[in-house]
Each structure stands twice: as C-alpha cells, then as structure tokens.
C-alpha cells in the first residue's frame, strides 16, 4: 500500500493530482512521516535546481533580435497565388498562341475556298464533307459564271472575321500590358524601404 502511494508523491508535488487520488495522498501524508520527508526532499531538490546558473551574457539582446530578424525566411506564398501568378505571366503566350492558331485556320479556309470555287468537283471527289467548309455558296447554275465574285466575297468575309479577331486579341494583349504596368507600379510603391540605415 505504502509503495503504491509513494509512486504518486512526485505527481502530487507537481500539482498533477485531483479529486479522490489527491485526497488519498493527503490522508496518507498526514499519517506517514516517511512520505512527508519524501515530499520535503522533492521541494529541496527543486530549490537546489534553481541554483543552476543562467547563461552568461554573450550577445546583447537587441543584437540577438537583429540576428534573428536577419535569418527569418520570407513568408511562403500560397499555392493558389503561385498558380494565379504563373497563369497571369503565361497569359500573353496563350493569347498569341490562340491568335496564331486562328490565323492558321483562316489561311487553310482561304486555300480551301479558292480550290473549291475554282474546281468544286475536285473537292467533292476528294470528300463531299469538305464542301461544307465553304462560307458562301452560289447556286449550281451560277457556279461557273460567278466563280471570281464568289471567291472575292468569301475572302472578304474571311478578312472581316480575321480583322475582328485580331482586334479582340490586340485588346486582350493591351489589357494585359496595362494590368502588368499597374501591378508593377503598385509593387514599386509598396516596396519603397521605410528607412535605409
């Protein structure tokens, strides 16, 4: 019983016991001189340990804090922000790429238009489905007589589509450049050092 109680004395000394267990220890301590001495020795040890010397002063506290501040890493950028930044930086490439792709498609459309209008039968022979690519078609009866005006009309339509798309893409590029310029201006303003010592 005494052995069982003794093992709880350090926890009692450290204030870690509560309720019934604490009352049990207190009741035991009131009757047992040996356990009271054990408790006193724990107190004596704690008092003795407080004599353990503190560290001799080496670096002044302000200098220590400055050294820590110098070693502090930059705060980590959130992943979503990194992705947004990368996307923003890649946006002009995407716009130019899309514009180039549309130019290629329109060029192919021009070539097909000319081939089909000059010799529609040739294209039909290759694949009837390709004739669906024609933007404007005259009735069969007028095909031979109206070939060149038709080509001119098709090319004109393609040119208008190309112009509209180019203006849209140019607008996107200009918007991106304006956004980039505004961002740089803001960043430059924010990064002005408070003091330079």
């Amino acid at each position: 019983m005494t052995e069982h109680i003794t093992q709880w004395i350090p926890a009692y000394y450290d204030g870690e016991l509560h309720g019934a267990r604490k009352q049990q220890i207190e009741a035991h301590l009131s009757q047992c001189a040996g356990c009271r001495e054990e408790l006193e020795q724990l107190g004596g040890l704690s008092a003795l340990l407080q004599e353990n010397p503190v560290m001799p002063v080496r670096t002044p506290v302000a200098r220590f804090a400055a050294q820590v501040r110098l070693r502090l890493p930059q705060p980590k950028e959130p992943t979503w922000r990194k992705m947004l930044k990368t996307g923003w930086q890649a946006a002009p490439l995407g716009i130019v790429g899309a514009w180039a792709f549309i130019q290629a498609v329109l060029l192919v459309a021009v070539v097909i238009t000319i081939i089909v209008q000059v010799d529609g039968a040739s294209l039909t022979a290759i694949s009837p489905d390709l004739t669906g690519l024609l933007i404007f078609r005259w009735p069969e009866t007028a095909l031979q007589t109206q070939v060149w005006p038709t080509i001119a009309l098709d090319l004109g339509l393609l040119a208008i589509i190309n112009l509209i798309l180019t203006v849209i893409f140019a607008g996107l590029i200009v918007s991106w450049l304006a956004g980039w310029w505004a961002y740089r201006q803001h960043q430059g303003f924010m990064s002005i050092p408070k003091t330079v010592v």
Binding site: A11, G44, E51, N52, A65, L72
Partner: protein
C-alpha cells in the same frame, strides 16, 4: 503623450501579418527565457545561442499555428526544447560534463563562494542526465510546464513523462545528496 507598450498578443498579431519589427520586440522579451532553457539543456553558451536563434526562427515559421488561449511562453518553451534536442543530436559531444569547472572562473578567490560551487555542481549533475530525461526535467522544473504540456511538447506518452521525471529526480538526489543534506 503617454507611451503605450504593446502586449504580447498585439505583437503576435502584428508578427502574423509579417511585421518583423514586432517580432523582433517579441524576441527581445523572450530571449533570456529561451536562451537559459536551451543553455540548461546543452551547457554550451555558443550552442545555446545558436539553438535559441533556431528556436525563434521556428516560432516565426509556425506563428499561425499558435492558439492565443494558451500561454505564449509555454508554446515557445516547447519549440525551444525541441530546437535544443536537435542541436544536441547534431553536436552531441559539445560539452564534456567532467570539464565543467566546479568553481566559477574568477580572479578574486573571495568571490568563489560556496553558492557558486553548488551552482556548478547542480549544472554538472543536470547535464549528466540522459538527454530525454533532462528535457522533461528542464520543462518541469525551470519552465513549469504540466505533465500534459510536456507530453505534447516532446510527443511522448504521459506515463513516459512521469517515469523520465522520476528517473531524473532520483539520479539528481543521488548525485546531489551532499548538497541536499546541507540545505
């Protein structure tokens, strides 16, 4: 105009926003506590200062995970003791306990009092403990952490905290028996 001193919580909030100056003020407040804790763990002033700096860098990195309802000092102590353990793992044989002078180096013999000899003996006895038991003892005796907080700080079960603490105290009572008698 009356000067206002920012509370710990105000400084912590500012530091969380990336304010390094505010964090520097926090470091100034807690420097002595952290350095002494680490010094008691490793016994080498230079290593203690490096480990203390490392501890403050970790505090900065994990400031977002600090819960204001708990004492900041305890939270910092937990990080500091782990920084000290890591420093001891990297350089385990920095201090030879046998090399610690029993008398403080002082040219004036009168200044070498019994108290100072006793302090050196206590330091030597603490440093002679196994690192794991020493960490528990330092957190309990010098930092006043509860068993539960120590268990969390060192990622060990509560029972292990009690057994390591009992072991450390038992060892110290044997080593410092003469000094305890004199008290």
């Amino acid at each position: 105009m009356p000067s206002t001193i920012a509370t710990d919580h105000e400084l912590i909030a500012q530091a969380r926003q990336g304010d390094r100056q505010a964090y520097g003020d926090l470091v100034c407040r807690y420097r002595d506590g952290v350095v002494n804790l680490v010094y008691r763990m490793c016994g080498d002033p230079q290593l203690a200062e490096e480990a203390a700096q490392e501890a403050f860098i970790r505090v900065w990195q994990h400031l977002d995970s600090y819960k204001p309802q708990y004492p900041f000092r305890n939270w910092v102590s937990r990080i500091a003791v782990n920084a000290a353990l890591d420093a001891l793992r990297r350089t385990p044989a920095t201090v030879n306990v046998e090399d610690i002078p029993l008398e403080a180096p002082d040219e004036d013999p009168e200044a070498q009092t019994e108290t100072r000899q006793r302090a050196a003996l206590v330091q030597k006895a603490v440093l002679a403990l196994p690192t794991a038991s020493r960490a528990v003892l330092v957190l309990r005796e010098y930092e006043g952490l509860s068993y539960h907080e120590i268990a969390e700080a060192l990622s060990i079960p509560l029972g292990t905290v009690m057994s390591r603490l009992n072991y450390a105290r038992g060892q110290l009572r044997q080593t410092l028996a003469a000094q305890l008698e004199a008290l």
